[in-house]
Amino acid sequence: MAPLPIPEVVSILLVDDSLGDARLAREALRESKVDNAMYHLTDGAQALAFLRREPGYEEATRPDLILLDLNMPRMDGREVLAELKRDADLRRIPVVILTCSDDEHDIRLSYDLQANCFITKPIDMNQFIKVVSSIEDFWFSIVRLPK
């Protein structure tokens, strides 16, 4: 298999109200072999504003991948996901649900709303870091994304 062209810098949007998880994700990405830029926002309303380049986010970068938590204050991940998949342009950005929940109901709902995959945050730190690197590896080294 011919190696996929690796983009020079990939950008990842993490939407999660947990500062700790954001920091762990950043630690994991720091050790990555892919050059990446991670943007972190802590609620759904901010995330939509960012993606739509609304006032305050006019200069926002369009992410190549979205890591989305489900349980957040104000607008939660489910609503963000529904909004994104209704948007003809934004719906092409893959969305990985990365959440504490392992609830069957949440899993079903997420896939119904067209999430690209659902991952329960591992409890163990080393596992968590491994999962984040696997996500990055899969979406940027294996999968072909639209230009």
Partner: protein, 506 residues
């Protein structure tokens, strides 16, 4: 007695032989029978008559009736009057009560007599008198009366509501308790129909009950329904209705018992609500507790990873304790979450073969099974109504326990078998492990109760309580038999609803 018998029998008039069977029959009955001629003289007396009067049958022959049936009181004598009337050609009259004093004296004896004219063809030969002791009649009357009185009191004075409703729905009779339950007088109740006091939403159910009973599809019917109280509110009652029919099977009335269960229902609803809240609380609390704990564990681990080399042995020890504590807490929360989920997140129970969840459990346990060389045999697992995920958890915990508490000198051997008793499946999970002392048989099913120190056998103390909750949710029971050193057998039951529904007997 036997020797007197021929004489007595012979006393029957014109004993020409043809009458013998009749005279024998007359002697056999308890009722006194006497025949008199047109002059009022005795011509026959049966054995019961002889006993009543104290006259031997042959002695009585020819004696006036008034003498044989010695009067206890002065005239008028209703019996003699009735005999005189019959001899005078009057139609047969109603029974008359009279008193007879025996020839030997003693207390007068009350009798009820019937007098009929004695005819052969057109000829009036005399009169026939039958007499039966009134005492016996009175006793029978009194008994009948007592039974009726007892039934009346059973109905009227019962502490729960009772009613008799006609097939047309009108309340024929109610007791005070029923009236009190609905704040209405008995008189008021007896003017209305059951539909007037039934909640509109319960009418259909009541109607089904009535039609089923009328059609003979059921002989009684139990339901919970709401009655309208006089003040407009509704009273919940547990109602049992049966139908009474006459000898030909035509419906007479419905007999209803109604017990006020408003308070019971309110308590039941409060309990359900409180259970639901508790489950919700445990679920949310566990979820929200996990997040900060993950932070503690993760960053302590990160600290060790990044700066471990710069720290001394003590500092690395402290970090290990912190991480270990956080990890244990996480397992506790995880287990607590599973425990809370048995009730709140359970799936609907559907028919499944128990071998499915058992196989799932063995897959989940494959590493530890391989490591310990455990042998697991299974026989004849039934089809039950169950939640596959929960039943897998049940087997995983029971078999996981059996492996965890194995003997040092022997690889674990575990047998899963099934018996059937009293409409239930009894599943046994037997091991050859270290066993449990009898005094702990109950305690192992209590949440957070552990029998071993963490460093001997790690665990959270939720495994068996979780099993109990799962079994209870499936309508079964769980218990154990064990002896230290001789292994343990866990038993749990599951209702055999599958074959019961098919009407099979297994």
């Amino acid at each position: 007695m036997e020797t007197r018998s021929p004489r007595q029998s012979a006393a029957l008039v014109n004993a020409d032989g043809a009458c013998r069977p009749w005279s024998a029959m007359l002697d056999a009955i308890d009722e006194a029978v006497v025949a008199v001629d047109r002059g009022g003289r005795v011509v026959a007396l049966n054995r019961a008559g002889a006993r009543l009067t104290g006259w031997a049958a042959d002695e009585a022959l020819g004696a006036p009736l008034a003498e044989v049936f010695a009067r206890a009181a002065d005239p008028p004598d209703p019996l003699l009057d009735a005999v005189a009337a019959a001899l005078g050609g009057a139609p047969d009259a109603a029974p008359v009560d009279a008193e007879v004093r025996a020839r030997q004296g003693g207390e007068p004896h009350g009798v009820r007599c019937r007098v009929v004219a004695w005819r052969e063809g057109d000829a009036l030969l005399g009169a026939l008198v039958t007499a039966v002791s009134r005492e016996r009649e009175l006793v029978a009357d009194r008994n009948a009366h007592r039974v009726e009185e007892r039934f009346r009191s059973f109905f009227d004075d019962a502490p729960i509501g009772k009613s008799m409703t006609g097939p047309d729905g009108r309340l024929l009779r109610v007791n005070d308790a029923f009236g009190a339950m609905l704040g209405r007088s008995r008189e008021e109740m007896e003017r209305i129909s059951y539909a007037d006091i039934t909640h509109p939403e319960d009418l259909e159910q009541s109607l089904t009950c009535v039609t089923d009973l009328l059609a003979g599809r059921a002989d009684h019917w139990v339901m919970e329904k709401r009655y309208r109280h006089a003040d407009g509110r509704y009273v919940w009652a547990r109602v049992t209705t049966a139908i009474e029919r006459d000898a030909d099977g035509a419906p007479l009335y419905f007999l209803t018992h109604a017990q006020d269960i408003s308070e019971l229902r309110a308590q039941r609803e409060a309990l359900v609500e409180s259970n639901r809240e508790l489950e919700q609380f445990a679920y949310v609390a566990s979820h929200d507790l996990q997040e900060p704990l993950r932070m503690v564990a993760s960053f302590t681990q990160l600290l060790a990873k990044r700066y471990g080399d710069a720290l001394d042995e003590d500092a690395r020890d402290y970090i290990r304790f912190a991480v270990d504590g956080a990890n244990r807490m996480q397992r506790l929360i995880q287990d607590l979450l599973s425990y809370a989920r048995v009730g709140s997140r359970g799936r609907e129970l559907t028919p499944i073969s128990l071998s499915g969840p058992l196989a799932d459990a063995l897959v989940a346990l494959q590493t530890v099974i391989r490591e310990t060389g455990a042998m697991i045999v299974q026989r004849d697992l039934p089809v039950v109504r169950g939640d596959r995920g929960q039943l897998m958890q049940l087997f995983q915990n029971l078999i996981g326990n059996a492996i965890k508490f194995r003997r040092a000198d022997e690889p674990p051997r575990i047998a899963v078998s099934t018996t059937h008793a009293n409409g239930e499946w009894v599943i046994a999970v037997r091991d050859n492990g270290i066993g449990i002392e009898a005094r702990y048989f109950e305690r192992v099913f209590t949440i957070f109760q552990r029998l071993h120190a963490q460093h001997e056998y790690p665990g959270t103390g939720i495994g068996l309580p979780l099993c109990k909750r799962i079994v209870n949710r499936h309508g079964g029971r769980i218990w154990l038999e064990s002896e230290p050193g001789a292994g343990t057998t866990f038993y749990f039951t599951l209702p055999d609803t599958v074959s019961a529904a098919d009407g099979e007997d297994k």
